[in-house]
Point group: C2
Chain length 304, copies 2
């Protein structure tokens, strides 16, 4: 499970930061979290294939988060895409996508599925469980929580040996969760395997004021990706514009007991990333908290 | 008069080339020729101020030439623009701009004027004479020719001295084109000044098959900016897609007797710029012909 930060600016791009686009890769498939102007070119510069994008999740419909979509749809068509693309977002997504599709103007050679999600909606994407969470921006907005299903527990071959099970196909059936019978005895997977292992998880805030519902839904995530548009010095401006400061992002991460916080959506008006990191770390202590730069990547390893 | 090439790709961006956007700077004011996705960020990286853009000319309405507009409008608004912006293009421009303006969604704090131009239409922009020329693409399309008005002839102080005119305000009146009277004699500007000097000029093809009307309207330009989407090896594909090869661009430049050819709108499928330049130079001989790269610039100097 890999995450690429392709656009880490908020509101307007800067020479150093492109507009919002965060990539989640899993099993060769790709999901985008928001798709700001320039995302297709950022993908081309990154190691991620544009054509592997199967799902685009929109946090809300402000232009800086969506104006990369029409060009990307057109390029996918020029590259002869034929497999479907799924776009999900909050209320209003279907209308705005209709406008954008009309500006693309030509018939696409692949189907596009557009779906509006509500708070609490769950979907399966890339083999992961996706949950949409209402957040607090000045237009309908969603955050997203992605959780890998629990993985089977660890297999203990020494226990299997003690029970007299010959190595081979029977091991594999037990590992898949089947009970087996051997010399009249029934052996259950639990007899040779440890408890279910928790899957990996991350959450993505989109643009929002510090949100209790997002913190709650993010409970225990391995990685929280939270907007931190401003620093403490612009806390009042953050509140007026329905954004979060780095400190507030950290407070949400702390409330959720997230294992790592990565901050994005950095305003052009932020002078130093280091200040944002200091402000977040003052809240989080030893929990890692960093500001992402364009093309940073992060690998979430499966736990034993 | 300065030209900046901010996006030199055709159809899709590449890691090296952003989508079409060419800048014309004159007297501190800025005109964009097409506005592909990513143009606002290219401007931020360039020496040209985003806020100095007063006019956007669209050659046609394919997405790769226009998807930079909504984000640029939005950023100008966030930067508190208050002066008007003018957008001109071929038939269909008002409808498509209406769609794009609706995706921007918020009230802009400055006025936007959108105008559809026809073949032969002339306008004054940045103090220059602009002419729209019908070209040959698979949707309504225009090329543009920009000519500086003729400048006054060279002032010859030695002739003024011979005629007994004292240096000072009278010189300035003659240079502005006024006749003066001195000791009962009438002296006309032509008595002390050379003939009118030709202004600078350039033309921009947009996306098109080799076009006679564009060659004709470009007669004698100092600089022709012509699309060269493909090389000779893809001449058939160029014809099918209503584009030009580098050789064809050079033939148009030759027909127009252009002093310099700069080629843009280079397909991702072109392996080497050098091949395109070779093919163009085979036609043009000593006339300079180059393929632009992103952030190349070109200064058109006033002639004596």
């Amino acid at each position: 499970m890999e995450i690429y930060f392709l656009g880490t600016a908020g509101g307007t791009p800067s020479p150093d930061r492109s507009l919002p686009c965060t990539v989640l890769r899993m099993g060769g498939r790709t999901l985008l979290l928001d798709c700001g102007e320039g995302s297709q070119r950022q993908l081309m510069i990154s190691p991620v294939s544009l054509m592997s994008v199967d799902v685009i999740l929109l946090s809300h419909l402000h232009g800086d988060h969506i104006f990369g979509i029409p060009g990307m749809l057109q390029t996918m068509n020029l590259f002869s895409r034929s497999h479907p693309l799924s776009i999900m977002g909050p209320r209003g997504t279907i209308y705005v996508m209709g406008l954008l599709m009309e500006t693309v103007g030509n018939d696409l050679g692949y189907s596009v599925n557009v779906e509006e999600l509500c708070h609490g909606d769950e979907r399966e994407v890339l083999g992961l469980r996706l949950e949409a969470v209402e957040t607090e921006h000045n237009v309908p907005s969603l955050g997203y929580v992605v959780r890998e299903p629990p993985r089977p527990g660890k297999f203990h071959p020494e226990r299997a040996k003690e029970l007299g099970i010959p190595a081979g196909p029977l091991y594999s059936r037990l590992q898949k969760g089947e009970a087996i019978e051997i010399e009249g005895r029934v052996i259950k997977p639990g007899d040779v395997m440890g408890p279910l292992r928790r899957g990996r998880s991350l959450s993505y805030s989109g643009d929002t004021l510090p949100s209790d519902s997002f913190a709650h839904a993010s409970r225990g995530v391995d990685l929280m990706i939270h907007e931190a548009t401003f620093g403490d010095d612009m806390a009042e401006h953050a509140a007026i514009s329905f954004h979060s400061t780095a400190r507030q992002a950290a407070e949400v991460a702390k409330k959720a007991d997230a294992a790592t916080l990565i901050m994005i959506h950095i305003s052009q008006r932020v002078v130093s990333d280091l200040d944002l990191e200091d402000e977040a770390r003052a809240v989080l202590g030893n929990v890692p908290a960093v500001v992402a730069r364009d093309f940073d990547s992060f690998r979430l390893l499966a736990k034993d």
